[in-house]
């Protein structure tokens, strides 16, 4: 097809008597190429995105021994015993613990800040609105280093506590931004309607405001959890002897990452994917049930 295109195009340009036939073919060929170009482009883009994950998946089944760099044969051992490598699961447990605690604290505090900023007029509100963005805009290295200086100056022993303080700090900004957007999109008439229908201030908040803002809070919490779980730079500065999963992976990279770390990474990825898929299917089903 592609080979034939050249001569045909050339011929089309010669005789006027064939003009009625040639341009049609030329256009259709061009269109076919264009259509295919999009498919090829899409395929390449997806491949680019998913190659590392595919690589990760494959190598989680590698019978590697200590370092997981060269393919040495297929095994299920890593999956059967993900805690097999020393310290992997301790680090994972720490990361989950830190993630859950800092997400909870950041979500509660951030939600309260968001309500204050969205609903009340007070002195310093504009300044707070701006300052809330500062942790998001500051480079993580700078945040991590300055926090470390602070902790050292005040002689705060580094460990679980300092990690959580650091994580809460950078998660709060994201929670405030996400929840505030949700509150801003809320129709004030809904709360007025609740009050009109005999709900006190507290009941209005519990029965109307909170359920309506909940999706924003949930999104903010998920975002915090993934930010906290993912964070390496700030954690690295402020963790002392405590190992988190990202820190474990980074440190082991020097001497070879165990395949078990791959297993955990892959498992988390597919778990997240599964949750998204299930949510989509449920949503789709509910929508179909309605119509």
């Amino acid at each position: 097809m592609t080979v034939g295109a050249g001569p045909r195009l050339a011929r089309g340009e010669h005789g006027l008597q064939r003009a009625g036939d040639s341009p049609v073919r030329r256009v259709s060929l061009w269109q076919r190429l264009r259509r295919r170009a999009l498919a090829v482009y899409a395929f390449l883009a997806l491949a680019y995105l998913f190659t590392p994950i595919a690589y990760l998946t494959v190598f989680s089944f590698n019978d590697s021994g200590k370092s997981n760099i060269v393919w040495k044969g297929f095994t299920l051992d890593n999956w059967k015993n993900p805690c097999g490598a020393p310290d992997v699961c301790t680090a994972l447990g720490n990361s989950l613990k830190i993630g859950v605690i800092s997400t909870t604290v950041a979500t509660v505090l951030g939600t309260m800040i968001a309500f204050a900023l969205a609903r009340h007029r007070f002195r310093g509100r504009t300044a707070t609105n701006l300052l809330i963005f500062v942790p998001m805009a500051t480079p993580e290295v700078v945040l991590g280093a300055s926090l470390l200086t602070l902790f050292l100056n005040f002689r705060v022993p580094l460990g679980m506590g300092t990690i959580i303080v650091a994580h809460v700090m950078f998660c709060i900004s994201f929670v405030v931004v996400a929840v505030k957007a949700r509150i801003a999109s809320l129709d004030p008439a809904l709360e007025q309607a609740a009050m009109d229908l005999y709900a006190t201030e507290v009941q209005t908040f519990r029965r109307v405001t909170l359920p309506l803002v909940a999706p924003g809070i949930a999104a903010a919490a998920l975002l915090s959890l993934s930010l906290s779980f993912d964070d390496f730079i700030i954690t690295f500065f402020n963790s002392g002897n405590v190992n988190t999963f990202p820190k474990f992976v980074y440190v082991s990279a020097l001497r070879g990452i165990p395949a078990q770390a791959y297993v955990i990474g892959v498992a988390m990825f597919y778990l997240a994917l599964l949750i998204v898929l299930v949510a989509e299917v449920l949503r789709h089903r509910r929508e179909r049930a309605l119509h």
Binding site: D187, A189, Q192, D196, L197, Y198, A199, T200, Q203, L212
Partner: protein, 386 residues
């Protein structure tokens, strides 16, 4: 909870007394006093920004009055919290709770007051608005008209002493609006609750309400039954906001019968019943509704005793089916409007024809007019543009 609600007290008429609401320097509601009789259908009519919604929100407890008081019977509810008043609202955009289904939306008020037999009452309210089959739908799955009915059921199920309706039909298309007007009226008669209906649609107000209060710039211009407001407007604003009016500036002259005041309008004398004249000044705006005016060929006279204005020329005629609307240019430079019903007698009057206008003195009203022609003319022109 139920004990805390103020509805346990005896209630009666809704009374607003010298109510004022200021937002900074802007006066939204300016010294409004009103009595809405118990069980009546009351309409607050006015253009947007006239303060009618603010008045409604003060009755609901969603705005705090700057001054004045609100009573329900003997009960002072001026500064009671919205959830303590036996008053419910149908909001402009319905404000249905999107996270609750229709049933739970309607049950919301009952559940907050811990009232028993919720299911029975909710279904009765849904039955009243013919929506029982949609009880388990979410608001997002309903059409505008259906949402409107649910909002109504959600308010009515609480059996409030007063139901407030904030332009509830504004978002509906014309046909549905007509249908809902009749239905609202039916429901109001059926439940016997006092309805206070805010609207900018004069036709809607006149169709539904027993009493209409016309508001303008934070003040009540006039209130009374629709027929009275239409037949004998007290101000130029009312005359032009409720339907159309021909307002001709004139000056009182001496003479006349027992109860008729002669007024000189640009050299022609017309008669005005003294009980329909709202001003004691010499300057009078003589008003008459376009459908009350008859069009006669020039030279022909209306029956004796009727008012007449000669020297008109038809400037424009627009056929609208049931009637023809004529614009008649008068010698003093003013255009007057005449509606002629197409009853089939005589053909349409051609544009350019010389005509005489005639009408009965009883249909004339006199308003306070600013000096000279411009006031009446401007008001009339504005009314036509609207």
């Amino acid at each position: 909870m139920a004990g805390a609600l103020l509805s346990d007290h005896p209630t009666g008429d809704l009374r607003l007394d010298r109510l004022v609401k200021r937002f900074g320097a802007f006066v939204a509601v300016d010294d409004v006093s009103l009595t809405v009789p118990k069980g009546s259908f009351f309409a607050l009519l006015g253009p947007s920004g006239c303060g009618k919604t603010t008045t409604l929100r003060m009755i609901a407890g969603l705005e705090e009055p700057t001054a004045g008081s609100i009573h329900l019977g003997t009960l002072d509810i001026t500064s009671a919290k919205p959830y303590r008043r036996p008053v419910n609202t149908v909001f402009q955009n319905y404000a249905l709770f999107p996270h609750l289904d229709v049933f739970e939306n309607v049950a919301f008020g009952l559940r907050r007051r811990r009232i028993s037999r919720v299911r029975e009452q909710v279904m009765a309210a849904l039955d009243l608005v013919e929506m029982t089959h949609l009880a388990r739908r979410r608001p997002a799955q309903l059409s505008g008209g259906q949402q409107q009915r649910i909002a109504l059921a959600r308010a009515l199920v609480n059996q409030p002493r007063v139901l407030l309706l904030d332009e509830p039909l504004g978002a509906l298309d014309l046909k549905l609006r007509r249908q809902m007007q009749l239905e609202l009226k039916r429901i109001q008669v059926e439940v016997g609750i006092t309805f206070v209906h805010v609207t900018h649609d004069q036709e809607e107000a006149m169709t539904m309400a027993d009493t209409v209060a016309v508001m303008n710039q934070g003040r009540i211009e006039q209130f009374g039954p629709p027929t009275e407001l239409y037949g004998a407007p007290r101000t130029t604003f009312v005359a032009n906001f409720l339907g159309q009016s021909n307002l001709v500036p004139g000056r009182r002259v001496s003479g006349g019968g027992s109860h008729l005041i002669p007024v000189d309008c640009n050299g022609q004398t017309v008669l005005l019943p003294d009980d329909r004249c709202m001003t004691s000044a010499d300057q009078v705006l003589v008003g008459v509704r376009p459908e009350k005016v008859h069009l006669l060929p020039a030279g022909m006279n209306p029956p004796t005793g009727h008012n007449r204005l000669v020297g008109g020329r038809v400037a424009d005629a627009s056929f609208t089916g049931v009637s023809t609307q004529y614009l008649v240019a008068m010698p003093w430079g003013q255009d007057l409007t005449v509606f002629a019903q197409n009853v089939g007698r005589g053909g349409p009057v051609p544009v350019g024809a010389a005509v005489t206008l005639g009408w009965e003195p009883e249909h004339t009203f006199g308003l306070e007019g600013e000096t000279g022609t411009p006031a009446g003319r401007d008001a009339r022109v504005t009314a036509r543009m609207r």
